[in-house]
């Protein structure tokens, strides 16, 4: 058959039944849009995580209390009280590779300023925490070692606190209250954006860990120790040394498991990346199912179309079409139907990605890669699901086909 006539014939046939064509394509449109949106969200999350790795700070090691996993036996989990302030000091003072260590204690509390209040997280940290996190001060200053030693009632606040509690006004020198405890704001942190877990990092108040332990949290043990190692090459040795030191300090016998976990920021980030990757695959698979359903819809319609047009097929065969000409015609028709759906799906997927990104505030990337994949996948769906109906059409006997009503 004249090749340029194939797509023309296919489009004419599809236009003859516009409504059916649109509804059939809708199945593919929804499938492709779902895949594109899910992949977009997944990639957005992944790039966000990657960006976070850079923002986490340099050469950082995290020490968590308790062992996270012990060959199936959990002893206390991440909330065990095994890390002390003294552990943090020892890590800082006794391991030469370590330049800073901050015992961290978190509390969720309501802040009050004037007649406004705001529910936020209060972090007890050492004075060198901002150096560990590579987090600059925007205005004012960080509290000092002396403030930590005397458990001074001072606080450094994140951008969200400035916006929500002070309505954007300069908070330096103002006093905020946490359960009646007055804290003087002495510094404002530079904005940082979202964290790995999707929380707003700027929604934070930093206080000396001594203040946090004694006056706010009521805890006695650190939830995490943030450790900074002085260069990249020393990370591994530092991790080993921290482990040895803490085992010794905690008096663990050789047969006992660690009662803490030492992880680099990269390891934490990797875990997060892995999680988002798994989520992406999962979501994309679910979206893929709707694409499959769309493909079955195509097959159904093409089968109906072959039955309806049996006489046309018979006529084409009787004026000289070969089986493969008829087959090609129906295959191309199905592929064009799917490509139509693919293009519509890209448009719908782009809109959905944009909406979800702006409405739900999730990071989402609309990638050209996902676009090309969607188009080739939809063409493949067309070929796959169009094959059987097309083959059925090509096998028809011209006399029988012409006789069919």
């Amino acid at each position: 058959m004249k090749l340029s006539a194939v797509p023309i014939t296919a489009i004419k046939a599809l236009r003859r039944n516009t409504m059916r064509t649109l509804l059939t394509a809708l199945g593919i449109i929804i499938g492709v849009a779902a895949v594109i949106t899910m992949v977009g969200l997944g990639q957005g999350a992944k790039s966000e995580v990657e960006e976070q790795v850079n923002r986490l700070g340099q050469n950082v090691v995290l020490v968590f209390p308790g062992a996270r996993q012990l060959g199936g036996v959990s002893i206390g989990g991440g909330s065990a009280n095994t890390l002390t302030v003294e552990d943090a000091h020892a890590i800082r003072d006794e391991i030469p590779e370590v330049i800073a260590a901050s015992p961290e204690v978190r509390s969720q509390r309501v802040l009050v300023y004037g007649n406004r209040n705001w529910f936020t997280r209060i972090y007890g940290q050492s004075a060198d925490y901002l150096q560990i996190r590579q987090w600059p001060i925007e205005s004012g200053e960080m509290y000092t070692e002396e403030d930590v030693e005397r458990a001074a009632l001072v606080a450094v606040v994140g951008q969200t606190i400035v916006d929500e509690l002070f309505e954007g006004a300069d908070p330096i020198g103002e006093t905020i209250r946490v359960r009646g405890l007055p804290l003087t704001v002495i510094g404002v942190l530079a904005p940082k954006g979202m964290s790995l877990m999707g929380s707003v990092q700027d929604d934070i108040v930093l206080v000396p860990y001594t203040t946090a332990f004694q006056r706010i949290s009521g805890r006695s043990h650190a939830m995490v120790i943030n450790v900074q190692v002085f260069n990249q090459q020393s990370m591994e040795i530092a991790q080993a040394k921290i482990t040895d030191l803490l085992r010794e300090r905690h008096g663990l016998a050789p047969y006992q498991e660690d009662d803490f976990t030492v992880q680099t920021q990269e390891e934490v980030a990797q875990a997060a990346t892995e999680t988002s990757r798994v989520m992406t695959v999962l979501l994309a698979s679910i979206a893929g199912v709707s694409l499959l359903v769309g493909g079955i819809g195509i097959m159904n319609v093409m089968l109906v179309s072959v039955t309806e047009r049996t006489r046309e097929i018979g006529l084409r065969l009787s004026v000289g079409a070969r089986g493969r000409d008829v087959m090609l015609q129906f295959l191309i028709e199905s592929v064009i139907l799917c490509l139509l759906g693919g293009l519509g799906g890209i448009a719908l997927g782009a809109i959905a990605t944009e909406l979800i990104a702006s409405y739900a505030g999730w990071p989402a990337l609309f990638s050209t890669e996902a676009m090309f994949t969607a188009v080739s996948v939809s063409a493949a769906v067309g070929l796959f699901f169009g094959f059987y109906p097309a083959w059925k059409a090509a096998r028809l006997d011209p006399i029988e086909a012409l006789r069919r009503e």
Binding site: M1, K2, S4, R16, L315, A321, R322
Partner: protein
């Protein structure tokens, strides 16, 4: 178009276009065998116009399908322009249907919701040596001109009368310049005046050198051919040469009569 047919047929003027040698066709449905054709022998010389008659069940349609290369005989040889059709494969038969034979169906079989011109293009799209779109358009338009429907190019079948639809179907059969025109009850669905017009067109094409084989149920339509074959129970009962009547002059008489009536 006139030159076309004489050139094609002139070459083979003394050769048989169709040579059937003891053709049989048996259908088996389940354990029952139906002998539609029991042994047909005949030859058709180029330039002839043959009518095939016979009651239903006599094997007319089976014979036409075999002649049109839509079906294969169970036994026997079918030589079309000297080529043994029985030995050809499905695709080779398709090529012969496309280029050598023009087939006119009783029910027209035009593509619905498709213009007359596009219906013309259909066989040309399947030519083994693809034509350019320009050639396709040109040939399609020429074919419509032959049957006098040049002004109905853009009409779809539903916008045409039965006679016009049949003429479009004939034009489609002619568009690939075949050597042989097969017509299966071409006037079966038409009134007698329109039938006469179609027969007149056949005679005109026949005069230009096209070989025509036409199945009909109507004895007075059969009279317009120069040879009548009557089938009965899958065998040729009668095969006779006749003096063909002129459809053109009868049409003229008809016109004169209707004028005198009005």
């Amino acid at each position: 178009m006139e030159a076309d047919f004489s050139a094609v047929t002139g070459q083979h003027f003394n050769m048989a276009v169709i040579d059937l040698q003891h053709i049989t066709r048996t259908y088996t449905s389940g354990s029952v065998a139906v002998h539609a054709l029991r042994g047909i022998d005949f030859t058709l010389q180029a330039g002839n116009f043959v009518s095939i008659m016979g009651s239903s069940g006599s094997g007319k349609s089976t014979l036409m399908n075999i002649l049109g290369c839509l079906d294969k005989p169970t036994e026997g040889r079918y030589l079309l322009n000297g080529t043994d059709i029985s030995a050809l494969k499905r695709d080779e038969l398709a090529a012969i249907r496309n280029e050598t034979i023009g087939f006119v169906f009783q029910n027209f079989h035009l593509l619905p919701r498709t213009s007359a011109l596009e219906n013309m293009e259909l066989p040309l799209l399947y030519k083994r040596d693809p034509l350019s779109w320009k050639e396709i358009r040109q040939k399609a338009a020429e074919a419509l001109e032959i049957v006098g429907l040049a002004d109905r190019m853009d009409h779809t079948p539903s916008q045409l009368s039965g006679g016009q639809q049949q003429r479009v179907a004939i034009a489609r059969a002619l568009v690939t310049s075949p050597k042989l025109l097969l017509a299966d009850e071409p006037t079966g669905n038409l009134d007698s005046r329109t039938s006469l017009e179609i027969i007149e067109l056949f005679q005109r094409l026949n005069d230009e050198g096209l070989s025509i084989l036409m199945v009909t149920q109507e004895p007075d339509i059969a009279q317009f051919a120069n040879r009548i074959i009557i089938l009965r129970d899958g065998l040729i009962q009668t095969d006779k040469q006749v003096q063909k009547r002129s459809a053109a002059s009868e049409l003229q008489t008809w016109k004169d009569e209707s004028e005198s009536l009005s």
